[in-house]
Subunit: 327 residues, 2 copies
């Protein structure tokens, strides 16, 4: 295992310390590093809290800040945070408007966020994201996995919360965005969890995992590497087939961490053409590493249908470590 670390045991703590120091204008690290929260809270606003296993950076802590999350609870790499983390975050960021949990659909995450919601004194609602069309159930999930579409839910709902939308409506909006968002991924290499020390899976010299999950979970099939155009064709067909509806969409090309930007833009070029063939108009675009799997090579494609309301929330100002515009 070749990593820029001091020891597998201290990776998360040291990384969070660096993250908090680099973004001290936006956020603060909670006690015992249980959560990262916005530096400046807005009294009465419904609080948005997310979290999950680490290793997907900038998701989720990188999306804490104005216009997006109020707090994020980082678990160990690819491991759910524990309920006490969410409870501690809630205690600091619920300023009277209640809280919305945004949770990717994995068993550990759901269980721990549910437990926190039950034990907390706050009013809590939850949006579960499950945008991955690759497989119907997977290693850590019953039902579809929550992947890169999660950040779109966080952005849209975050802007709505900032604009003063009450908790119950945020829940409805979050569910609606999730239902109109579909993703699929492909891996060209595995990643290595620091505590494990060896790659999560292995691929042959010329193989790829079509439909991979963001923890390296198996996808639909392991096949010979194909040209980018063919990969985009299969992924967009799967997404469009599942989404059903057509119209204006946000196209997100999300790198898993080990693929150069040059290839991600090439994939955007291919995916945009495929999306247009299926009747989508690519009204918004985002290309980069946003929901990663450590240093895994590959990417996911996401289409999220937009209407005037959600497009407006997407365009609204945001100021986080991982996403920033309009301010």
């Amino acid at each position: 295992m070749k990593k820029l670390i001091n020891s597998p045991e201290t990776v998360l703590a040291e990384s969070l310390d660096g993250f908090a120091a680099a973004h001290a204008d936006i956020l603060v690290l909670g006690e015992e590093r249980k959560f990262v929260r916005r530096k400046t809270l807005k009294p009465g606003k419904a609080a948005l809290i997310s979290g999950g296993g680490s290793g997907h950076e900038p998701l989720h802590a990188g999306f804490v800040g104005f216009g997006m999350l109020d707090a994020a609870c980082p678990g160990q790499v690819f491991t759910s945070p524990t309920p006490d983390q969410m409870i501690a975050a809630l205690a600091e960021v619920d300023t009277g408007g209640g809280a919305l949990f945004i949770v990717k659909n994995y068993e550990g995450d759901r269980m721990n966020f549910d437990m926190a919601a039950e034990l907390a004194g706050s009013e809590v609602l939850t949006v579960i994201t499950d945008d991955d069309v690759a497989v119907e159930t997977s290693t850590y999930s019953i039902g579809r996995r929550g992947v890169a579409g999660t950040m779109i839910v966080e952005k849209v709902v975050g802007a709505a919360a900032e604009a003063g939308m009450p908790l119950a409506d945020l829940k409805v909006l979050g569910d609606r965005v999730n239902a109109r968002t579909r993703s699929m991924g492909v891996a060209l290499s595995s990643c290595t969890v620091p505590a494990a020390g060896t790659p999560t899976f292995t691929l042959g010299e010329n193989e790829m995992e079509m439909g991979v999950g963001i923890h390296g979970e198996p996808g639909r099939r392991r096949v010979a590497l194909e040209p980018a155009g063919q990969i985009a064709e299969e992924m967009i067909a799967a997404i469009a087939g599942d989404l059903g509806a057509r119209g204006d969409a946000l196209l997100l090309v999300n790198g898993f961490g080990g693929t150069p930007l040059m290839e991600l833009y090439l994939m955007f070029n291919a995916a945009k053409a495929e999306a247009e063939k299926h009747g989508y108009r690519v009204a918004r675009a985002l290309v980069g590493n946003y929901v990663t799997s450590l240093e895994m090579a590959g990417c996911s494609l996401t289409l999220s249908l937009l209407d005037d309301e959600t497009a407006g929330f997407w365009d609204a100002p945001v100021h986080t470590a991982g996403l920033r515009w309009g301010m």
Copy 2:
């Protein structure tokens, strides 16, 4: 070679097409893809033009836009652009204020940018960046290499140009920022140039290249992988020793493309502590993949001394694909 491409011959063209489509609000792709330029030019402003081999994205095309570059000329991967590219860019973006070329110190780039400056009808001055303290001369350069510090020069001088600073003063400012900026890199793995098809160099299971260049050029020595803290200690000592002066500084932790954000923030944590030991105050921070080497694993550290003027230009609004704040 495992890459998300269609063929090595079309990587650059397809990637540029995707890039221009994804950022159509900011920039346009020039004829024959010779350059990328700002969509909206400001008449009379001194034009900033950079460029170089591709494979370092977001540098340089990702820094075209308000507050930074007016145009960037992309060569093939790790290959200088040709003079006709810079001449074509000049013809479109020089609106009467002359042009400043910002050129990384490599023989091919210097020769081609010099030739363009001679042949062009415009008034052209040039800033050469050479911030890499690792080695005194290298594979493609006589004298030090220009690496991640180049983006700091582009940001500071870009903000000054936006504020109306005339060409001659921009040249002085650019030279000053370059002289107060020092970098050093470390690689844990090589990258693979698409046209070559095999890794540029090879490292053993437990080796790293200390002082690596952004094209995989040899550094100071190839040694056994060390803990992050020790790596940061050596790099910051080399940078500080060379820089001499102390004071407020920008600390840039720049990923080479294949290292997860989690490790980059951990390196920031270590580098900040080392910089403080040497008497620097880390007044500004930037962590991420900005001057990459395709999918190379590793990172560089950069310290850039700030004064009130340069800090102000660093903080000024910028709106590019790769860097965006204040608007």
